[in-house]
Symmetry: C3
Subunit: 156 residues, 3 copies
């Protein structure tokens, strides 16, 4: 049933967001399959079918590298982020694979306490179901705004 | 069980929000029954029992008209909006009808990338269950703020 | 199953947020067990293991007192607040007790309509399951920011 799958995906996404927001970046690549696609792009680029993204990775190893370099730069420690996700909308389910779309909204908390909206957009996801869990085969992060912090320190 | 109904309503609301946020306004009236009530009002007016609303429709045909006029004015293309909904709170379930209350929060993304909080409030809904789906018999949108963009370009 | 528990907790949390946002503060203590812990602290203090909190209560009676004094001061009527909660992440389930972690985000709507982000953070909860409901044995509210409205008028 669609609701059961939606609940499962929602639970996996809560864990995903939590690993980033709590600074446990080392766990983040584990939400992906070894062969995977992770892309951050803008709504303008996406609607025009442009392939180029702000961030692109096509393996879990690349995601591990990204996390390592973020850690070495210590960039991610300067601010805190918090992800809020909408209810995943289940587009299709085919055997062990699920396509879903989920709105996200990320808040940034600066060291002085100032809080602002960092990014909004939607995740276009393809999941491989694995028993009572699911891993990402593909996540395309489509940001609503085309204006970006050039650093994009944290994963979305 | 209340949770099953809550999951179903959450899934329907995710689809509703998605149709607006992705610009698929033509699909929006289909979330309502043919005989339906759709009203946008403020918390002040609602708590005083005032009937007057900012927007009022009492049939799906009126919602179709509204969408058509928005399209002709092209107003909805100037900005992007994104809806975030809380977990629906199930107030009552009586046979095939469900009353629920859901907090919402809408972000507006301007063409220059500026993102702000556009509206917050709650949906007071009455749904007709239809197998594994549900349609709105009534949606009263109670906005927290009394200050409005006079346009209210997009459905809430 | 983790998803069933997550759905139950999500439903209880929706009711909790609703009681505060709709001004029904008298119902708020009923979400807790008689013997309970309620603490508001900051991420900095929490990560350093500091016990001191901004707000601390260790019984439902203390929560009732707090609500009474808020009512007498009428502080909570000056503004409106709206809570948005992420999907609860189920950390563990042991017999009739569930530990969960949930991101929250509270918006404040001033009388003049201005809306801003009031607080973000996470709930570290311990629930006692009671049939189809659940009550809080412990809620530690960890706010992301260390800068606070000294009043902290409303419960989080």
């Amino acid at each position: 049933m669609a609701q059961d799958v939606a609940s499962l995906i929602a639970q996996v996404q809560a864990a995903y967001a939590r690993s980033i927001d709590n600074g446990d970046l080392g766990a983040w690549p584990d939400f992906f399959e070894e062969q995977c696609t992770y892309k951050i792009t803008t709504a303008d680029n996406h609607s025009q079918g442009l392939e180029a993204g702000i961030v692109f990775a096509n393996s879990r190893a690349m995601l591990v590298d990204r996390v390592t370099s973020l850690r070495e730069a210590n960039v991610y420690e300067r601010h805190t982020y918090r992800h809020f996700l909408g209810q995943p909308w289940i587009q299709s389910q085919d055997g062990g694979q699920v396509r879903s779309e989920t709105s996200f909204f990320v808040v940034r908390i600066m060291r002085d306490g100032t809080t602002d909206i960092y990014a909004t957009g939607r995740y276009l996801d393809l999941y491989a179901l694995q028993g009572s869990s699911a891993k990402l085969i593909e996540r395309i992060v489509v940001c609503d705004s085309s204006r970006f912090d050039t650093l994009l320190a944290l994963p979305l």
